[in-house]
Symmetry: D2
Subunit: 337 residues, 4 copies
């Protein structure tokens, strides 16, 4: 079988397509023939060495994959060959509260990822692909989808009639927009491009703001919403946090996702956040049970993830480069066939 491997944090050019033997599923394990993967900003950061010296190498990159079960090992009654499945971002966070042990199992990080023709999964780290989704659409869900689900539904507890603000047109933000609408909420969506804003409206955004043209978008969002938004899905890091605090209502929540580092502004408005009894909630993907709940919702509402562009397996480097360009609207996918 073929798979991509990184020997070190050598950037996109360090990605090497290598040959390996197809592994054999052991007790409670499942061999999956992967059909599709999608990329996250985190995968780009990993390739470029953004996670420092603790990163495991060699590494098969990318956390998000979907495919078809090739065969199952002993003591696997939950699945059978031919089943279409999605892999969980964390292999060991099955259910319940997060912990260090559970989170030391991220695909494409602590353990090998999915940029590979075959991969072994523990049976408890797979969920079935909904019928209405292609393998590429299914591969969009594990990281960006579940992060947005946790931000809006699980930790954000969005309710009908509330207002949610999303930022930009990356994977998490578009999923958050879709889940917020699924919950009966109103959505304020921002972008720096008027063309992308049109597409945000088509996805259901009730109010849009071009944050280039409107640097005080937080104030405008607060005004439009009435008393401030109930939830901001913050993906911009500390750089946009002040406007997010401004946008949020008293008692509201900012779901904080950004992997973007950088020093905070010297006028960071944490005291205002306190005075308004707001909550800044870190979000880190979720468990296999959370993934199942999200997939159930996607199936029930026949939701479709937004796929930006599909690259063939042998052009994975171009897919990473496209991710890096920032021009995408939705998920960047790689077809494995």
């Amino acid at each position: 079988m073929k798979c991509y491997e990184l020997q070190g944090p050598d950037g996109i050019d360090g990605l090497a397509l290598v040959d390996k033997p197809v592994p054999e599923p052991g007790d409670g394990q499942v061999l999956v023939r992967l059909r599709a993967a999608t990329l996250n900003y985190r995968d780009l950061l990993t390739v470029k060495g953004g996670y420092g010296s603790r990163q495991k190498f060699p590494l098969v990159p990318a956390s998000d994959g979907a495919g078809v079960i090739e065969r199952v090992g002993p003591n696997v009654r939950e699945f059978a060959a031919g089943d279409r499945v999605i892999g969980s971002f964390f292999e060991s966070w099955i259910a319940g509260e997060p912990s260090e042990a559970k989170m030391r199992s991220a695909l494409g990080g602590a353990v090998d990822g999915v940029l590979s023709e075959y991969r072994i999964f523990p049976k408890h780290a797979l969920v079935r692909t909904p019928k209405h989704l292609s393998d590429i659409e299914a591969a969009a869900l594990p990281c960006a989808g579940l992060t947005a689900w946790s931000a809006t539904v699980k930790l954000g507890s969005v309710k009908p009639g509330q207002t949610v603000l999303t930022q930009g047109t990356g994977g998490v933000s578009l999923f958050a927009l879709q889940f917020a609408k699924m919950c009966g909420a109103r959505v304020i969506a921002t972008s720096s491009s008027d063309a992308k804003i049109e597409r945000l409206k088509q996805l259901g955004a009730d109010f849009t703001l071009n944050y280039r043209a409107t640097p005080d978008w937080g104030k405008k969002a607060r005004e439009w919403s009435g008393h401030g938004v109930d939830l901001v899905v913050e993906v911009g890091g500390v750089g946009t946090l002040n406007e997010s605090i401004r946008a949020t209502r008293i008692g509201g929540t900012i779901a904080f996702i950004g992997v973007l580092a950088g020093p905070p502004p010297s006028d960071l408005r944490l005291p205002l956040m306190v005075m308004q009894q707001q909550r800044l909630q870190g979000v880190t993907v979720g468990s296999v049970e959370d993934l199942q709940a999200m997939v159930d919702a996607i199936a029930a509402c026949r939701m479709k993830p937004v796929i930006d562009k599909i690259f063939p397996f042998d052009q994975a480097k171009q897919a990473f480069a496209h991710m890096e360009s920032g021009a995408h609207f939705g998920k960047v996918a790689i077809e494995i066939d």
Copy 2:
């Protein structure tokens, strides 16, 4: 002004249309010109003496009304003449947890109701009518609407992808169906009439069951849902409780609303409920803040309540009789003009 009054539990014929002076709003009070009222099963029960000897008489019946502010008393800055408003079911349950003191203020029960051309409301017991609703539609909300909202959203915490079961075609059940769909849930709806079942489908029911034709509807609902439904909105009282327990998943909830009394079946499956770690949650309308949250959701989703039939003010008795017949699908309304 004219209003209906009951001197005692004399049944529908005891309703008398009487003349009274228009009251004057005091400190913090608002005079509302009522334009519409709707009936609940509870109002019929009150008229017929179903609440026993503690019921206050004389009584202006009916809890659910909407209208236009005629004028405001001193210290009312929140509202002005001309504002369209909806009255809260409980006058003193403004926010927070319920209590005896807060709940001793139900309109058409502990205090006079809305079957009247004018009525004084404390300013904190009113919410604004959404623009897309007529006064009659607005008058559908305080009791049946808020009960369904509390059952599904507030206490039931329905999430996208969950399954909710509703029973029949009364006001609470139709609202519950609509709110469950608003939350992204799948809905199983039951009725004894195939004609009504068609209308339930039009309202969004994903799966329907004629409970006459299918007495073991609980089992069927469980099968269709996969592992059992997440929430049953139980309006049938103890008589239907066994099938509801059967329909519900392990760890699921039965929101219990029924005002219908009667002895429990001798084989009441409470032990099964325990073994399945289910929750039987009593639901009693909600607070003014809950009403506001629901009205915000109805406005955001442009939801319309289902009005069965509108009676003119001088035919209020016929409206009660229609309610009693059980033939309605949605709310029975009275126009006050």
Copy 3:
């Protein structure tokens, strides 16, 4: 090794002490040398055939055991020989929400129990014994302890200053009393024996009621508490439910545990429960993560379970008979040595 086995629902006399080979721990498994077990009412019911024809036989009875790790199988890094451990009631409910699959793994029910010198546990179904507890005290925790913890802390969310009512002097009730005090709550405890009431006071009960002498104990509890108790830990089944509803405040909870069957009273006050927006919450033990949380609390507060009487391993039948007599105050234990 020696263990007790039941060939069928033959009652206490059917318990046979048999010889079996000591099993070998497989991948991810742990061999535990059991040192102590405790009995629950459920174990008595199982022995007597109370769970009907679906009960697995032959069966090693009893769910609650503690001991010392003899040796571990491959891929077990979490534990080592010599570690003192407690077994979980459910082997497969590791974390998260309950489900049919997770709950089809109860020791001494769906799978063999702990009345045995040795037993294999999956590594994820064990927690470490706190240092301040003996093996017998540790063996008191899995079923009765965790049920009481779930009723009070996890599902009951008892907060300082609230009032909790417990019934009688069985294992669950005494644990519930202790956990409620640990949470800063006031406790009302009932018993039919004045002698036992003295011991309830020593455990911290703030107010006691002899339910024989005071049949309307629900009313008295309501009065003493002010507005009604926040939580009743109901172990008496439907027979005592009416008084429990009476005792509970508006918006309060009745944690329903009773495995005691029997027809409900014809005047069952479920309508009153609805009007008071009360919650009847079925409780079924809990997950391994819940067990860990409870054990952490017991360690932090240096709580000691109440052990009624300790029987040697060869007198297990007498232990069951003592359980059946109802004379116990706290847990009936069996020492395995």
Copy 4:
């Protein structure tokens, strides 16, 4: 009557003792003869102009007072002359979620405070003083007490066996220590003084750290706790936030209270907070219903607030100066007689 008044942000010396007529209670109002007040850091900041140009002047300072009802106005049946009462920090936040309108009613801020012999309160903004507390002890509760209660019990949901970290020996921190112990938690308490650390131990601290001697106290707290603490009650502002993030477990909470402003450190670890799915929860006192719940808990557990020093009414300036010195351990009180 006599009261203190500030004409502007003139510092402690600007406090003037003035004469005013005793006000008359109107509809739904209560006249309270204040017996005691306590100071918060916020009161010092107000006196010194720390809240900027929006601060109302002239102002009667201080939010926290307790006393005896002198007489009640019309329509007050809940209280009577002679009742001992505590005033709520917010006059208009009665129950439910916070909002701008509710929070624009803070005593000693938006409205006049309690450094006065008499004051009018709306009846809904008072709770009864527990019998076991003196008026001075009761006056310690409204701001610091309720802030700590919200941080630990209401928003922090501390459970038995969890670990809570408190910082220093100010009012909020000592209350947080006491409430955390009341909830059955373990407490790690920090201070810069070994003498104060002794007193923290007497209050129940399980583990103490001198943050001068141990600048990496966050790391030490994490180690002692096992996997990190469940809740940090952060009163130090952004300056201590990095160590607090370090101390906190994955999925844990930092209750953020600090009114201390100042620029954030350039290496603020918000990305680490995200990766650990932590929650930074702003806390702003609480509602009257929250105050009642806290007072119930204090009564049930017979808890006593820690009073540092009591100043007579005519030495209020010295009380402020003592507050400013930072030498206090617990609350600085003023007796009004």
